[in-house]
Symmetry: C2
Subunit: 349 residues, 2 copies
């Protein structure tokens, strides 16, 4: 039997955080692409768009008016997927099982400036976003009926983002959703068996091997996880074991804002485009348990594969069997390390 | 506490086949859409395209020439994600775990006619495709190193299909992938606890409730499963408990071809467009076990939500927490029942 060569042999990798597998086909980008090509939107967005329902002062659905906010702004989603006043009743009829779900969906504007994105914002402005996330996690998490707070951002219309104004969302709900539940189980298992955080041990190993590290600062490391599914998937892990983002001290908050900017600049520079992704923070559920096992982290799932216009499709085999990727995590990390740390739009000027 | 009303209250539904949950937000399609709009390709495709590498007689990568095939044609993918000659070696280093994977990837042309799709093909022609799937499942499954055979189709460029010629794929591999493993576990549990097939019992309940049935014939039922994730997700279930497609008798094969055509016609008629989807057959693994618990079925995951140009994005919350849908399964089934059973292009003539 041949020894496994990650750069030659198709193989499956194990995700220690979810217990799931991904199929890696390192040789596969050689195939020609006759499929769908995305439109690149290079138009510079104006600082203010009178038709944008997220810009300061503008009207939203139902006649609400946004304030003239100077930095961040948070409000309850006018078309929320979860409702506070609803039902939590269970349903069971034969094999059919359901459960009423209550929750709160919020929209978080990152900046009053319609034309910016995270990598283009200054670190102090990103810090304001980080602080708002902290507040929201604590505030929503403290509500009796909220067991989980999901902070995320969909960036780019290719990622279903229906408005280019820099913003993210928060969905807080009355049960713990699937993905967090998987990560809880795996981290708890490691915690009890090894008396330590799974991600602390993982981070140590990554810092030794170096091949999947993208960049780091004193408090955080950004890397392509060994089990990455999306071509340029990345993860920001705090060096210190913290259960949730509200545990960050002043220095850590600033370091987090800084690495957020640094990583998203690399992303933009990769294909010299405003790099689309879904990003999200996974942290301890707010169900009243201690969750000592939880080590919070932020993940980025960007769809682009070959260029600004050709993305990876998670379809067919991926839907029916398991996720599949065409390049190795090590190759992706090397490419991300290789681009400039200054934003291409700045360099262009 | 309010009783749960599926059409009013956000709720989670349980998938009996995978053990996973989906969040349903029945009121949510009311939100305005300012996001990405897909291009509809209404151009009639020619019967033969000299630049298509799947048309009869044409040249493929590496200088291969397709034969002048009269109905179906199968060949090994020139850019396969899995390779027969490779490594099956395991890899473990600290927390990092991987496993070499061997396999065979095939392409299946459904018809020599470049311009057709399944709903436009005649039942006898679809029957040829069904027979080819049966042969391939047996032939690949009989190989020593193949434990699982995944038959699927990506239809439409929105589903990452890189060539419009009517075709599907088969990926056969040396381990059982994640999704099939989940379905094996759930079916096995039910089989031992209830001495019967999970899907037989489920089908009985659906036929009684009727609300999620799309259409049926003597041997098969097409329905929107209670736990559907995609807006118009559908499932074809054989009435008789069979472990895999090769167990179909002559009458069943024909009935399967017929319902395949009938269901995909409804799909096309919904938005009067060539309806994109990923479809796949889940059946017993070929790992040498008996798998009495397995009840094969075919699923369709179509992305369109509101129209031919607005799809559902499984991003952000869906990636970090769990799948979410905006309409109920019952509502989707009702709409699919409501469209004509004759193809809109035929009616237009
Ligand atoms: O093999 P194709 O058609 O080039 O590729 C398509 O189907 C594959 C199997 O579902 C996916 O891995 C690819 O991402 C998709 O673009
Ligand atoms: O809330 P938005 O931006 O309208 O919608 C977007 O994000 C949501 C949360 O990830 C998804 O459910 C939607 O499919 C997507 O289009």
């Amino acid at each position: 039997m041949n020894t496994l060569d990650f750069h030659e042999h198709p193989h499956r990798r194990y995700n220690i955080l979810t217990g799931e597998w991904v199929l890696v086909s390192p040789h596969r980008t050689k195939r020609p692409w006759q499929g769908k090509v995305e439109k690149v939107d290079t138009a510079r967005k104006p600082d203010y768009d009178p038709t944008c329902y997220l810009c300061p002062g503008n009207e939203r659905a139902g006649g609400f008016h946004n304030p003239a906010y100077p930095d961040t702004f948070v409000f309850t989603n006018d078309f929320a997927a979860l409702l506070e006043v609803s039902s939590e009743a269970p349903y069971q009829k034969g094999l059919l099982k359901a459960q009423g779900e209550r929750g709160i969906c919020k929209v978080v504007c990152f900046s009053p400036n319609h034309g910016l994105t995270l990598p283009q914002m200054e670190v102090p402005a990103i810090l304001k976003v980080v602080e708002l996330w902290q507040e929201q996690y604590l505030e929503l998490g403290a509500l009796d009926f909220i067991q989980h707070v999901q902070i995320f951002e969909n960036k780019g219309d290719i990622m279903g983002c229906s408005n280019p104004h820099p913003h993210g969302q928060i969905w807080a709900q009355s049960t713990i959703p699937q993905e967090t539940r998987l990560k809880s189980i795996q981290q708890e298992k490691h915690w009890w068996e090894n008396k330590g955080s799974l991600l602390s041990e993982y981070l140590e190993q990554e810092l030794e091997e170096k091949t999947r590290i993208i960049l780091e600062n004193d408090r955080f490391v950004a890397l392509v996880p060994f089990w990455a599914v999306w071509p340029y998937e990345a993860m920001i892990i705090p060096r210190r074991h913290m259960r949730h983002i509200a545990e960050m001290d002043e220095v850590e908050k600033e370091a987090f804002a800084q690495i957020l900017k640094a990583l998203t600049i690399r992303f933009d520079n990769l294909f010299e485009t405003s790099f689309p992704y879904s990003a999200g923070i996974h942290q301890a559920p707010t169900d009243g348990q201690e969750h000592a096992e939880w080590h919070w982290h932020m993940s980025f799932y960007p769809p682009l594969l070959r260029s600004a216009t050709v993305k990876k499709f998670m379809v067919g085999y991926e839907m029916f069997a398991e996720p599949q990727r065409d390049v190795t995590a090590e190759w992706a990390a090397e490419r991300l390390r290789g681009v400039s740390e200054r934003h291409y739009l700045e360099l262009g000027n």
